[in-house]
Symmetry: C2
Subunit: 359 residues, 2 copies
Amino acid sequence: MAVGAAAARTIMKKNYVRPLDLACGAVDLSHGGGGRAMLQLISEVFGRAFDNEWLRRGDDGAVLPAPAAGERLVIATDAHVVSPLFFPGGDIGCLAVHGTINDVAMMGARPLYLAASFILEEGFPLAELARIVASMAAAAKEAGVPVVTGDTKVVEKGKGDGIFITTTGVGALPAGRELSGANARPGDAVIVSGTLGDHGMAIMARREGLAFESGIRSDTAALHGLVESALAAVPGLRVLRDPTRGGLAATLNEIARQSGVGIVLDEMALPVNPQVAAACEFLGLDPLHIANEGKLIAICAADEADALVAALRAHPLGARAARVGEVCADERCFVQMKTALGGRRMVDWLASEQLPRIC
Amino acid sequence: MAVGAAAARTIMKKNYVRPLDLACGAVDLSHGGGGRAMLQLISEVFGRAFDNEWLRRGDDGAVLPAPAAGERLVIATDAHVVSPLFFPGGDIGCLAVHGTINDVAMMGARPLYLAASFILEEGFPLAELARIVASMAAAAKEAGVPVVTGDTKVVEKGKGDGIFITTTGVGALPAGRELSGANARPGDAVIVSGTLGDHGMAIMARREGLAFESGIRSDTAALHGLVESALAAVPGLRVLRDPTRGGLAATLNEIARQSGVGIVLDEMALPVNPQVAAACEFLGLDPLHIANEGKLIAICAADEADALVAALRAHPLGARAARVGEVCADERCFVQMKTALGGRRMVDWLASEQLPRIC
C-alpha cells in the first residue's frame, strides 16, 4: 500500500521548512543533528557561498583530480579559535582560509583544495555565521582554492564560543622542491617579507578597545602567490615558514632547533609599523613575539639574498621585505639579536602564553 | 658579542622545562601559545603516540607520496564533539579516526592519510588527553592510516568542552569506481552491513546512566576493509554511505533526494540488537534515527544483492549484513517502510534534534 495523496500532502506540509532567518535567527542544536535543519543550513549558508561542483554533489567527501605525475601531496590542518571573531583587517573566516593556504604554501606546494569543518555554539547568530562564511568564500575565491568538502557540528550554549573553524589544505609539491625547517645552514641569510606583529596587535588593540585610535590592521593574506614569486627567483630556497603564533621569535627558534644552527638577527633591520611599535610599547609586548598572518620568513644562501629580497619586494604582499639576520653555527641553537645599541640579547620563545586565541 | 657561558647556563636553566605531569596535570593556555609549552605537549603527547616520519620532521604540513597514476584524490573532513568523551566500545579518539576513514571509504577510496586538529579547553586533564590520543593512535595503526600532520589550540575554561577533534582524511580512488549518493536506480537493492543504532544507544545509555545494565556497545570501527571486500565482490556497486547522525532514516532520505528515487524498507529485515531495541523502547527512540559508526548502507543492482550480502557476511564487520529494502521510482523521493503488520509508514528525517553530540 503506497502512501495516498492526502497523506502525502500532510507529509509535504509537515516537512515544509521555512527559509532560514539569516537576519535574526540563531544556530540551534537541530542544525547539527543530521536531519532536515542541518541540510537546510548547509544548503542555504555553506552551499550557496562556497558553491562548486564538488559540494553540489552532496556526498560525504569530494572526489578530485590528483596532483600531476611526479608531484607529491602536501597536507596541512589548522584549527581557528580567534577571539574576537571580527577584527580590523579580517575575521575568523578569511583567517581560516589564509592560515591553511599559507601552511601548504610554506612547504613550497601549490594549494589545490580546502576542507572546512565548523563547530558552532547553540545561539550563535546566523547573520554572523553568514558573514563569516561569505568572508571565507571570498578569500577562497580570491586565492583560487575551493572549499570542496565540509562538516558542521553544533554544541550546547556554554560548551563552545560562537564558532571554531578547522581548515585542512591539500596541495601539490612539484618535483625538486625540498623546503623544510631543517634545511638552514650556517652563513645563510634570514629574510622576512614585511612588517612584524600587525595581526596580533590588531587583535590586541580590539580587545583592549584601542581599535579606532590605533589604525592597526591584521595582515591576514594568502601567501602562495608570494611564495611562487620567491621560488621563481630563488629555486634553491631552503626554508619558508610563516611566523604565526609565537611570532618571529618562536618560528626562528623552531627552525634553529630543527636545523641544529644558531640565528643572529639585526634589530635595526626588522620592519615594524610605527603604530604597532607604539602599541607594543604601550601594552608591554615585544613585536618579535606577536603573531603574523600574512608574512613569511625565508632562509636562503647568502649570495641569493639580494635576488630574493628583490623578488619579494616586487610582489604587493612583500613590499617591505628585508634581510634581517643570518644563520650561524651554534650547537646550542640560540636565536640572538644584535640590538640597536650594539649589544646582543637572546631571543627566546615565550615559556607561557602571551596572547591566547590569536588565530 | 656572543652570549657568554654564564649567560648561557642561566638561559638553559631558565629554559629547563619539567616533563609534563601526565598523571595529574591539566591543559593550560600556554599549551596553545606557539611557544615552548606547546612544543612540549606536541612532542610528549602527540609526537610520541602518532610517531611517524612526517610528524618527526616538525614542519607545518606533511609532504607525502601522491596517489598512483590514474587515481583520483578523495578528501573528507569531520569535527568530533561527542559527549561523553568515553563510552562503552570507544571514545572520541578512535571515533575521530574511524569516522573520517569511513567517509573516505564510502567514496570507494583507499584511505591514505589523516590530519588531526585539536581544540582543547583550559583545565582538561592531561591524563584524559593522553588516553584519547593513545586510542586515536591505536585506531590509526590498526587501520593502517597514519596521522601525518596536526594542530593544537587551547581555549579558556568555559569556552569549549574538554576536547573537540577534527580529522581530515585523504584517500586514493582507483579509476573506474564511481560511487555517489546520486546513483541509486529503481529496482536496486538496499543492504545494510549489520545491526542498527548501536553507537547512538551506547552514548544515550551512558548519558542516562544505563550503561552497566544495558551491555550496549558502540559499533565504532573503520570500514575500509569491508568496503574493499564489497567492491571486490560487486565492482558495480552504486552507492555506499555510512548512516551516522540521523541514522538510517536520514541517510536513506539523503540518497533518495540525491538520486531522485523512492526507497521502501522491510521492517522485518532490519537487523537490530535486542538490547538496542529494548533501550529504544524504554527511551522512546526509533533505531532508524539512531547514529551508527561502524555500519554501511550499500545499494546495488538487484541481481548482485546476494553476492554483496555474502561478501559482507564473510567479513567480521559485516557478519549481520542483510538486504533490507529496494529502490523504487518516486518523484516525491519518499522513504517508506513495510511494517511488520503489513502496513506502510513514512520514514522521514527528523525535523529537529533527537540526540545532540552523538559524534
